[in-house]
Structure formats: structure tokens, C-alpha cells
């Protein structure tokens, strides 16, 4: 085993930390790009989860692996669209500070 020394829990701690870091980032960062990055963090923590579970608990099938592959691909697509919209935002608002993007409320 390649990483026989490292127990599964350690991976899970990392993924959990990443998850919450992502959530925290999403809630606190003001720059839209950074927020997008925080989302990526969340998705990557999910990827780690899938991979680790697959590798450690259910090594006979590859469901986890495939799942993370698709997540990565979709995340890329998502980022593409998001960034396109962010550019559009910049055109209209001249900023990409998320707090300023609140023309619609109540």
C-alpha cells in the first residue's frame, strides 16, 4: 500500500477542514473570484471524501473515483460560466466586490 502509514481518518480530517474552509471562505471573502475559489475548495473536499472512501472502504469498485472525476469536470464548466458572468458583472458594476452586487433585495 502506497500510503499505508496514513490512516483514513487523517484524510477525512483534511477534507473536513477543507470543506469548512470553503464554507467560511464563501461566507466571508468579498471578491467574487475568491468566492469561486472557496466553492472549488468545497468541491475538492468532496472529491477527497469520495476517493478516500473508495480507496479505503470499497476498493473493489470505482464509483468514488468516477464521481470525483465528474465533479472535477463539472467544476471546471461551472467556473467557466461563473467567470464569464463575473466579467459581465464587472462591466455593469465596475467592481467584483460581492457586497456591491445587491441591487435587488427585499
Amino acid at each position: 500500500m502506497l500510503n499505508a502509514g496514513i490512516p483514513m481518518e487523517a484524510f477525512l480530517v483534511v477534507s473536513t477542514l477543507m470543506f469548512f474552509a470553503g464554507v467560511y471562505g464563501f461566507l466571508t471573502r468579498r471578491n467574487l473570484i475568491t468566492i469561486l475559489m472557496s466553492v472549488e475548495l468545497i468541491l475538492n473536499s468532496v472529491n477527497i471524501n469520495f476517493l478516500v472512501f473508495n480507496r479505503f472502504l470499497f476498493p473493489d469498485k470505482l464509483q468514488g473515483h468516477f464521481f470525483s472525476l465528474f465533479i472535477i469536470a463539472i467544476a471546471a464548466a461551472e467556473a467557466a460560466v461563473a467567470i464569464a458572468i463575473i466579467i459581465n458583472i464587472y462591466r455593469h458594476f465596475n467592481t467584483i466586490n460581492v457586497e456591491d452586487v445587491d441591487k435587488m433585495r427585499y
Binding site: L27, I35, V98, E99, V101, D102, K103, R105
Partner: protein
């Protein structure tokens, strides 16, 4: 079986007249409407006389007892399995007697009105209403069951309302009509509850079965008590409340004086001779139950009657409006009748009071109608109701004067006129039953003579007032009824009432008790004498009397402030302290609560709007908090 089916026509004819004149009357000439109405009633009158003759002298008597005959009966409304309201015709001595009274007086009033109302706006309407009233009153007396009586009772009330408010553009007339209706309506509430109570325990409305002595339903019901009182007594007292309302017994009398706002013929018909005695008739109708099962209710009747007669007589002494004097006099006389019923026993000579009451009812109808019609004639001549604006009229109104005098003598109990006989029977009955009541009535007899002659002297003697134009005697069409009624007043006393109208249907021998008769004649003459001294010529005596008995005079003049008491109750208590708060409560509490829900929703809506701040990150925060709260609460919920 009876051959009395035609009696149905007696009420029906006036009703048809009402419909005819009511619907197409405004297209007729007034005189034609008057003629139609009068003719219709004339037919009814003739039929009533035929009925009376046939019943009393031909076929009514079986084994020496006048039977109760159901001439006609039909189910009008089925209520429960046993209770049903019927419409029918019941013939027995009192109903036949009432037929005669009502049709006679009504006919006189019809004839009289042809002259009195001439040229008035709404002449046709007047005759239509008279027809409606006659129909209702006849239906009332012919009722075969207590609910039918209630039905016509209400109709009578409405016709009375319509006729009192006849001059509907006069606010006082409208107010008087309203008052009459509402006060009697209130009394009818008692009547209704009484009916409900009685019928629940006896399972019948039917008079014949209810008033048969020893009726099992009544006997059984008498045993049931409610709060210590027999339900029959309770029911009868409540029913009497209805009677007291219609008959203007204290304290439900306040509508009657005001009702004089109506045209005078109406006062003669409704508020002197017929409708106001409906209460007496009601008690008489249920008399066997009163006498045999609920004597305490009968005592109440007696005392209410006695008190009212005194009370009204006292007030009558000080009133200035001649119609009001007559109105109080009517109350007083009806008090007599009630009292007579109250002191009566059942059967044979015990039933003297019963007989006397009906006798007095009969004679009173004649002379009181005469008085009112006479007063109408006077008013017609001088265009005023006030005694202070009259005087010395005997020269101008000879026929009215004579007939009026006859009526006054009759009511004062001068011997050999009808009032003497009937009043004397009442006094005799009271004397044998209850001495207190006897002395009350004795005093009232004196007062009656006094106030009637006060009226008489003031109007026909004394000095001339300043009249707008010289008063002149009324036309023949008005004086004719006066003469007829004067005739009746004189001779009605000779009818053998004790043979015909008795509590159990069997006749008995009645005789005058000389001491009582003498005493009553004495006090009557005393009253007349006092009035003669005080009012024959203008003198300071009335003023002096008034100052001597200042308080009594003041209270009497103000009718013992009964109107004020009522006004206080209706205006202050009901209108201001019940209705207004109810209306306020409805708007500001009940309705406000409903609006409060709407307000709360809007308020909440406004207060949660900050949730929707437009900030993406706040949305995410709410999202994640939602997740956390859900997770924590459900983990807690399910894992414990």
C-alpha cells in the same frame, strides 16, 4: 254538525274589504271606499247578530249548558307530532258576545268615520286598516287554540300600530305607534313563552281540551314545578303578561295614552272597546285553568287589575287632554274587569266575577265607544284636544252633549243605566272575595264619577272659549252612531248576562245586593257633586285643590313619571348602554381581531424583509445555518 259554518264569513268579509280597498283603494273615490268598507262590516254585523241569536236562544244550549262549538277547523302548521297550529272558529258564550261587541262598535265607527275622516288624505287607507283590524280582532276572539289567538293577537297589534301612526307625517303619531307596538310586543314575549311552556307540558294548544275542567294534561302539568312554582302557574302568569300588555295594565300601560295620537274613531274602536279588552278576553278564555289550577296566578290578575284601576283613575283626575282622560278612564275600567276575573271562582254563583267582568266589558264597550266618538265630535268642532280650550259647548253641540252626558252617567254608575249593573256586580264579587280590593274599587268608583264629570263640566259648561269659528254640531252620519250607542248604553244593562255568559256555561240567578249597590251609587253621586262644585262654574277650587295636594297633583299630572322611567330604560340603558357598546364591541373588538390577523401578517412580512438583503453571502449564511439547525435538532430529536 253545528250549522255555524257561516261564522267564518264574519272575519273573512272585513279581510276581503281590506284587500280590496288596500290594493285598489287609491284608484277609488273616497266615498266609495267608505261605502264598501261600511257595507262589508254591516254584513258581518248582521251575521254576528244572527249567530248570537242562534247560539244563545236556539241551538247553543245542551242540557242547560252552553256548549263550546268548533264550527270550523283546519291544520295550518304541523309543529311536532302532537303540536299543531290550527285555524278555526270556536263558538261559545264569550266569543259570541265579543262578536257582537266588535261588530257593533266597529260598524258604528265605520259609519262615524265616513263623516269624521271626510276630506282627509288617506281616507281609503283608513278604511282598509279598519277592515284589517276588524278581521284580526274577530279572528282573535274566534280562535280555537291559543296559538291562533297569538297569531291574531300580533295582527291586532300591527293594525293598531298602523292606525295609531295613521298621520304618518306627524312625528308624535309615529312615535306613539312605535311605542304601542314595542311595549305590547314586549308583553307578547311573555305570552309566547307562556304558550311554549304550557304547550310543552300539555302537548296541545287547543282551547277546548285545555279549558275542560279536570283536563288530564293540565292536571299532570300542574304537578311539575320549576323553581318551586307550578309550571302551569308560571305559564299563566307569563300569558297574563301578554294580556296585561294589550290591556294596558300597569306597568305596561304607557302606550295607551300616547295611542290617542291616532284618529279618534280608532281610539273608540281599538283603544276603548275592543283591542284593549283582548287581555280580559284572554284571561276569560283560559279562565278554567286559572281558577282551577293556578289560583295564585288569578290573584296576581286581581291585584294588577285593582292597582291599575286606582292608578289610572288618579291620573285621569288631572289630565287636560280629553282623549287622555278617556284613555286613563279606559285603563281604569279594564282594571275593573281584570279584577272581576281575579276575584271570581269557577262555576255557578262562584263565577259571579267572571260574569260581571264580561258584562262590564260589554257595557263598557258601548259607553266608552260613545264617549270617544263624542269626544271626536267635540274635537271635530273645536279642533283641539285640550279641555282648557273648551267650555260652554252644550249650546253648540246639543246631540253630542246629551249623548255624552248619558255616557258619563253610565260610567259613573248612576242607577238603571247599564254601567250601574255591571259595575255593581263587580263590586259584589270583590266584596265577597277580598275586602281590600273592594275598597280600592269603591274608591275608584268615586274617582271615576269625579273625573268624568270634571271632563263633562269643563267641556260643556263653564264659559265660552275663543274659538276659531263657531263650533257646530257634527253631521248626521256622525251623530247617528252616537245616538245608537247612547241607546245601547242605557239599555245594555238589562241583558240577562248571568243566564248567558258564565264561567261554566250554565246560567245562574244574579241579584243586586242592596247595601253594596246603595253605597256605590252614593259614592258615585258624591263624585259627581264634587265635580259639579268645582267645575260647573269657573272657580278657584281646582287650583286650591291642586296646591293643597301639591305633590300628589304633580305626580298625577306627570302620570307618576312612568314615561320617564321607560325612557330611562330604553334610551339610557338599552340604547346607550347595551346597543351602543355592542356596536362598538363589534367594530373595535371582534372586527378588529379579524383585521388584526391581516395586520399581523403584514407586520411579520415587513419584519422579515431583512432576510432578503440582496447579499449573496448572507443568503449562504442563512443556508448553512438552516442546515446546521436542522442537523442539530434532528440528531438531538432522533438520537435521544
Amino acid at each position: 254538525m253545528s250549522g255555524f259554518q257561516y261564522v267564518v264569513l264574519i272575519p273573512i268579509i272585513p279581510f276581503l274589504m281590506f284587500l280590496l280597498i288596500g290594493l285598489v283603494g287609491h284608484k277609488m273615490k273616497p266615498a266609495l271606499a267608505g261605502l264598501i268598507g261600511t257595507t262589508g262590516l254591516f254584513i258581518s254585523t248582521v251575521l254576528s247578530y244572527i249567530t248570537a241569536y242562534q247560539y244563545f236562544f236556539v241551538s247553543g244550549k245542551v242540557n242547560g249548558v252552553y256548549e263550546k262549538i268548533i264550527a270550523f277547523n283546519t291544520v295550518w302548521l304541523q309543529l311536532t307530532d302532537k303540536l299543531h297550529i290550527d285555524l278555526g272558529v270556536l263558538i261559545d258564550p264569550i266569543s259570541v258576545m265579543m262578536l257582537v261587541v266588535i261588530t257593533t262598535v266597529s260598524l258604528m265607527v265605520h259609519i262615524y268615520s265616513n263623516g269624521y275622516m271626510k276630506g282627509e288624505r288617506g281616507f281609503q287607507r283608513f278604511f282598509a286598516f279598519l277592515g284589517l283590524f276588524s278581521f284580526s280582532m274577530l279572528g282573535l276572539v274566534l280562535a280555537t287554540n291559543i296559538f291562533q289567538m297569538y297569531i291574531f293577537w300580533e295582527l291586532v297589534g300591527v293594525s293598531s300600530f298602523l292606525l295609531i301612526s295613521f298621520y304618518y307625517d306627524k312625528p308624535s303619531a309615529v312615535a306613539a305607534g312605535k311605542k304601542a307596538f314595542i311595549v305590547t310586543r314586549f308583553a307578547d314575549l311573555g305570552f309566547l313563552v307562556g304558550i311554549l311552556l304550557l304547550s310543552y307540558y300539555t302537548n296541545t294548544f287547543d282551547f277546548v281540551s285545555l279549558t275542560t275542567p279536570g283536563c288530564p294534561a293540565i292536571v299532570q302539568a300542574a304537578g311539575i314545578t320549576f323553581m318551586g312554582i307550578s309550571v302551569v302557574t308560571l305559564a299563566l302568569v307569563l300569558i297574563f303578561m301578554g294580556g296585561a300588555g294589550k290591556s294596558a295594565m300597569f306597568p305596561l300601560h304607557i302606550w295607551l295614552p300616547d295611542a290617542m295620537e291616532g284618529p279618534t274613531p280608532v281610539s273608540a274602536l281599538i283603544h276603548a272597546a275592543t283591542m284593549v279588552v283582548a287581555g280580559v278576553y284572554l284571561v276569560a278564555r283560559l279562565f278554567p285553568i286559572f281558577a282551577l289550577t293556578a289560583p295564585s296566578a288569578l290573584t296576581i290578575v286581581a291585584y294588577v287589575g285593582g292597582f291599575t284601576s286606582l292608578f289610572a283613575a288618579v291620573i285621569a283626575c288631572t289630565q287636560n287632554d280629553i282623549k287622555r282622560v278617556l284613555a286613563y278612564s279606559t285603563m281604569s275600567q279594564i282594571g275593573y274587569m281584570m279584577l272581576a276575573l281575579g276575584v271570581s271562582g269557577y262555576g255557578g254563583e262562584d263565577g259571579l266575577g267572571f260574569m260581571a267582568s264580561n258584562f262590564h266589558l260589554f257595557t263598557h264597550a258601548m259607553f266608552k265607544a260613545l264617549l270617544f266618538l263624542g269626544a271626536g265630535s267635540i274635537i271635530h268642532a273645536v279642533h283641539s284636544n285640550l279641555m282648557t280650550e273648551m267650555g260652554g259647548l252644550r249650546k253648540y253641540l246639543p246631540i253630542t252633549h246629551i249623548t255624552f252626558l248619558i255616557a258619563c252617567l253610565t260610567i259613573a254608575g248612576v242607577p238603571f243605566l247599564s254601567g250601574f249593573f255591571s259595575k255593581d256586580e263587580i263590586l259584589t264579587a270583590a266584596y265577597h272575595h277580598d275586602k281590600i280590593l273592594f275598597f280600592v274599587e269603591y274608591a275608584v268608583a268615586g274617582l271615576t264619577a269625579f273625573y268624568m264629570f270634571r271632563l263633562y263640566f269643563n267641556v260643556f259648561w263653564g264659559e265660552d272659549r275663543h274659538y276659531h269659528h263657531t263650533p257646530h254640531e257634527s253631521p248626521l252620519i256622525m251623530t247617528l252612531p252616537l245616538m245608537f250607542l247612547a241607546f245601547a248604553s242605557i239599555f245594555a244593562g238589562y241583558l240577562p248576562f248571568s243566564e248567558l255568559v258564565t264561567s261554566d256555561g250554565a246560567g245562574f240567578e244574579s241579584h243586586l245586593e242592596m247595601p253594596i249597590a246603595a253605597a256605590s251609587v252614593g259614592i258615585g253621586l258624591l263624585g259627581i257633586f264634587v265635580a259639579w262644585v268645582m267645575y260647573k262654574k269657573p272657580s278657584g277650587a281646582p287650583v286650591k285643590m291642586a296646591t293643597t295636594f301639591k305633590h300628589l297633583y304633580k305626580w298625577s299630572y306627570n302620570k307618576f313619571y312612568m314615561d320617564e322611567v321607560y325612557l330611562f330604560v330604553t334610551k339610557k340603558i338599552i340604547f346607550n348602554n347595551i346597543s351602543k357598546p355592542v356596536a362598538w364591541f363589534d367594530r373595535h373588538v371582534v372586527d378588529a381581531t379579524m383585521n388584526g390577523f391581516a395586520w399581523a401578517a403584514n407586520y411579520a412580512s415587513f419584519n422579515i424583509r431583512d432576510l432578503q438583503s440582496g447579499q449573496l453571502q448572507k443568503y449562504a449564511f442563512v443556508f448553512i445555518s438552516g442546515v446546521v439547525v436542522l442537523v442539530l435538532s434532528f440528531v438531538y430529536f432522533f438520537m435521544n
